[in-house]
């Protein structure tokens, strides 16, 4: 398993969150998730400006073998989507924590960090899945 970036928060749904300086949050799926899904062929993105509730459907990632929903880890407004994924969904495979980001949200409430995992906690979580 590759190194987990230290400045991110992680969820049990295998999503990562990065707090930006302007209080928005960038969201993507983890390296573990992209590996499990396989080579991506299409990403369906939400509309910029739409409001999404936590656990609501945020995006769809489609690989050669499956189409999976990506659920919003927090409630908020979509302020940006990664348009580059339209032509190059494999950015998620090659750089899940960088160029493969999916959306940026403006949270509508304080983020409950207690429900998220630190890199170490997420690594432990992944280790339990391997068994």
């Amino acid at each position: 398993m590759s190194d987990l970036p230290g400045d991110l928060l992680y969820t049990e749904e295998h999503e990562w969150l990065r707090r930006e300086d302007d209080a928005s949050v960038t969201i993507g799926i983890t390296d573990h998730a992209q590996e499990a899904i396989g080579d991506l062929v299409y990403v369906e993105l939400p509309e910029v400006g739409s409001d999404i509730d936590a656990a609501g459907e945020m995006a769809v990632v489609e690989s050669v073998k499956a189409a999976s929903d990506v659920y919003a880890p927090i409630s908020g407004n979509i302020v940006a989507v990664n348009e580059a994924l339209a032509d190059d969904p494999e950015k998620i495979n090659s750089d899940a924590y960088g160029d493969g980001w999916i959306v940026r949200m403006q949270p509508s409430e304080t983020i409950d960090e207690g429900s998220m995992m630190t890199p170490d906690a997420y690594q432990e979580f992944l280790d339990t899945l391997d068994h």
Binding site: V41, Y42, E44, E47, V60, E62, S63, V64, K65, A66, A67, D69
Partner: protein, 452 residues
């Protein structure tokens, strides 16, 4: 490919592997009160002998009338080779070819079919078919909502020429998902869209135009396509595949072309068979391909660089994506599509053009002859393809009944639809000059008998 059922031993082994006693155990989770042991009004199973006899009897009831009805299903000559080839063991199943390693023939047929349909419609991609033309409109409407997310109205505007049955089916399927269908205003002289009365600000998610129209007329598809796009709508074209041999393909309508084209595939080698099975076709622009329901077969190469075929777009189907699938209509009409592909291959481009031109010529002769009779005139002015609406000076139903007694199916009674005494007639290439003259003479006869 052969479809070999499991032996009893296979079944026992599989049940043992998952720890089930019997196949019935697999359905344990269905509450007993939901199980029914018989269906009312559905008769008991019949033996092969009994069912053959019943079907022969039913087939004889059709007789062999001279048919001048179109209205969505069209009698065309089907070369004998079409169904001889289509019913070979290798093709004689509509079963989905999930296993590429066992289905190369079927997959190649679908691939060739998609290629032909995209050439006819002038659009980028075709799916592997849908149930029929009417349900294809429902699927196209739902697809338009997915492809045009900015528009939230769920409002679909239909040109006056869209088949009223298609509207009913689309409303039945898509109505429960929040879509509404409204008609655009009609110019009474041409039967087509009244461009002076087009509504503004209705925010349609899609506009549907049928070419040729249900009444046989030709609408200004260029202007309607551009208008639809200016309204922010997706343009859905409903087209007759035979007509596309000589009419402008939807992909070339207006400045940007139709976004989605659908239609009834029956004219391409499928017998009328009292209404089915038929197949629907659907093509679209490349940019909408992810929103298209159904599956696409693609051509690829294997590890040894040999060409091969595989399902390339199926991840959004129900067997993988369940309730989130782009459609839960998943069964392609494989056998009908096989027949259509063979039909188009045998005819070729010139053959299809010939059929379209001959059908148009025959219908022109028929319309001219009928309009020479007192009390019959064209309902709409303007050009038509192979079907034309006529206005009569008296109720149509009695005339059609009198013609039926002479073994002539004289056309489709438009009266309930247009609110006038009107008849829709069609003469495809299957009608000879003698047939057409016989029909005109018979019509004149029943009219004068009615006068007497």
């Amino acid at each position: 490919m052969p479809f070999i059922p499991h032996t009893e031993k296979d079944t026992r082994e599989m049940l043992a592997a998952i720890g089930a006693e019997s196949i019935a155990d697999l359905f344990d989770e269905i509450p007993p009160e939901l199980m029914i042991d018989h269906l009312e009004h559905v008769p008991e199973a019949m033996s092969e002998m009994e069912i053959s006899r019943l079907m022969r009897h039913r087939a004889r009831m059709d007789g062999s009338p001279l048919c001048f009805i179109g209205a969505g299903a069209y009698e065309h000559h089907i070369p004998t080779a079409v169904w001889d080839i289509a019913t070979r063991g290798e093709f004689y199943s509509a079963y989905t070819p999930y296993q590429a390693e066992a289905s190369q023939g079927t997959l190649q047929v679908i691939y060739e079919y998609q290629t032909m349909i995209t050439e006819l419609t002038g659009l980028d991609v075709s799916n592997a078919s849908l149930y029929d033309g009417a349900s294809a409109l429902a699927e196209a409407s739902l697809m338009a909502v997915r492809a045009n997310r900015r528009v939230k109205t769920g409002r679909i505007l239909l040109a006056p020429g869209v088949n009223p049955v298609y509207e009913q089916v689309a409303a039945a399927i898509a109505g429960a998902q929040g879509l509404t269908f409204e008609r655009l205003p009609q110019d009474p002289a041409s039967g087509n869209v009244d461009f002076d009365q087009l509504p503004q600000g209705r925010e349609p998610v899609a506009v549907v135009v049928q070419q040729p129209s249900f009444a046989g007329t030709l609408d200004d598809t260029d202007r309607l396509t551009d208008w639809a796009h200016a309204q922010g709508a997706v343009l859905i074209g409903v087209v007759n595949p035979t007509s596309l041999a000589i009419l402008l393909p939807p992909g070339q309508w207006g400045k940007d072309g139709a976004d989605i084209a659908i239609g009834e595939g029956q004219p391409l080698g499928v017998p009328m068979s009292s209404g089915g099975p038929y197949f629907g076709f659907m093509t679209c622009k490349q940019k909408h391909v992810r929103q298209m329901p159904g599956r696409i077969v693609g051509r690829t190469t294997d590890l040894d660089d040999n060409p091969g075929f595989a399902l390339t777009l199926q991840a959004r189907e129900q067997h993988i994506r369940r309730s989130k699938a782009t459609s839960n209509i998943c069964t392609n009409q494989g056998l009908m599509v096989t027949a259509a592909t063979i039909y188009m291959s045998l005819l070729g481009y010139d053959g299809l053009v010939n059929i379209a031109n001959t059908s148009h010529g025959n219908t022109t002769s028929l319309a001219d002859g009928l309009c020479d009779i007192d009390g019959i005139s064209r309902l709409y002015d303007g050009p038509f393809f192979h079907e034309v609406a006529l206005k009569l000076d008296r109720p149509v139903a009695a005339l059609l009944a009198a013609l039926a007694e002479r073994d002539i199916l004289g056309g489709f009674d438009l009266t309930p639809i247009v609110g006038l005494d009107a008849l829709l007639v069609c003469a495809t290439e299957t009608k000879t000059e003698a047939d057409i003259n016989a029909y005109i003479a018979a019509f004149a006869d029943v009219m004068s008998a009615d006068n007497a």
